[in-house]
């Protein structure tokens, strides 16, 4: 269902405030047909921002009780960077089980997948989808969607950082190099990937990585979209 990811990224383009991101998170929940989507970011100076579909009661309860201190998801993901199926975490112990029961009662679901994100300049975020389904169904869901979920998490994070920094300035790491512009230009001109790689004197593997990297930097949902965005930003030269 790459279509869900593309639809989400396309919608993200229109987001210009943190409130917009909140509605995007709800859209994402509907696209993936899961119970909940949670995005939580902490920047280097400790500033926090969250966009989530949980009900207020559960959020208040979580904060009041300081559940981040016992939540296996937080403990397993904080300052790390590998995505985690909740089933791989340690849920043993009475305190943890009680917490889980409460989360279940709050409608979080019995399954979850969390993507920790390490951004530029010491920023850290966690992106989670949670759902109430059997192990078998969740295994199937993650097999199909994991890559898209990781990408959704990072595109969302990138957009949040952009909005936080005032929206106009792109982080320096997101500027396209001349080489990436060349690669996009060739594809815009209708060259096949093989032809583009040949005329740029790089391998098709390298071309793929350059194009995927450029798509990510531009916040584009696919190559055509990346070309359009780069053109709109005056980044392509024919």
């Amino acid at each position: 269902m790459a279509a869900a990811l593309e639809q989400f990224i396309e919608g993200l383009q229109q987001a210009s405030t943190l409130d917009d991101l909140q509605s995007k998170v709800f859209e994402l929940r509907d696209l993936y047909e899961v119970e909940h989507v949670v995005y939580h970011s902490v920047n280097a100076s400790g500033g926090q921002y969250a966009a989530l579909t949980y009900g207020d009661a559960w959020v208040d309860r979580y904060i009041t009780e300081g559940y981040e201190r016992i939540d296996p998801v937080v403990m397993g993901c904080f300052q790390r960077f590998h995505p985690v199926d909740w089933r791989r975490l340690d849920w043993s112990g009475k305190v943890t089980r009680d917490f889980m029961d409460e989360a279940k009662d709050a409608g979080v679901g019995n399954q979850g997948y969390t993507v920790p994100i390490r951004g530029p300049s010491g920023q850290f975020a966690m992106f989670t989808v949670s759902h109430g389904v059997t192990d078998e169904k969740w295994t199937r869901f993650t097999e199909v969607h994991t890559r898209d979920l990781i990408l959704s998490a990072h595109y969302l994070n990138q957009k949040a950082l952009e909005i936080e920094s005032g929206g106009t300035t792109k982080a320096p790491g997101r500027a396209l190099s001349p080489r990436e512009r060349d690669a996009l230009t060739m594809l815009a001109l209708g060259y096949s990937r093989a032809q583009a790689a040949e005329s740029l004197e790089i391998s098709e593997h390298t071309l793929r990585v350059y194009i995927e990297g450029a798509r990510y930097k531009l916040g584009a949902m696919n190559t055509t979209h990346a070309v359009a965005l780069a053109l709109a930003q005056g980044r392509l030269v024919f």
Partner: protein
Amino acid sequence: MLRFIYGEDLSEFPKLRDTMFRDRARQFSERLGWEVTVDAAGEERDQYDAMNPLYVIWQKACGSHGGSMRFLPTTAPCMVNDHFTHLTDGVTISHPLIWECTRFCLAPDAEPRVAAALMLGGAELGQGFHLTDAVGVFDARMVRIYGRLGWAPTVLGTSGEGRDAISVGLWEMSEATRQRMARKAGLSPTLSRHWFDRAFGTATSLPQAVSA
């Protein structure tokens, strides 16, 4: 055996940790003559070791370091983008599904299969975490090793000549490669998956899923 350990957890493995940083000093400072920082204890560390990287380490039966490499996400500061963009046509490689792999190191007395075992560890990360590629920095000597293992990187660029050459390359991840590295290392892919699960947790039913 293969260990997957975040920097913050290395303190649980003091012997493995100390012998790894000492072997790195031997390889990168003494043998290759790279301008790396070696401390009074004879251990090599750089700023990226302080960023809680994920190490893939071959642990010898005696508990000491047999070989290792270091992974960092390319969406955050990493060595390739901070120091080697002159080798990548100025392109910063930054993507959620591409991790950086640096400091590929072998203990002086490492048995031949250790290099393959480490590559297998990298392939486990690729399959386990759905990565498309790894990007890495490596010295000329490694080109032949990677080639012999049947997982040669796509070289993005090289600086220096002969033995002093340093390159940046891309390794494409796939299940076929994981299988091939297991064969080269003489290890069962089931065993290496077991080592992965031991580090990152085995997918077991959540308690509430059982009661639900």
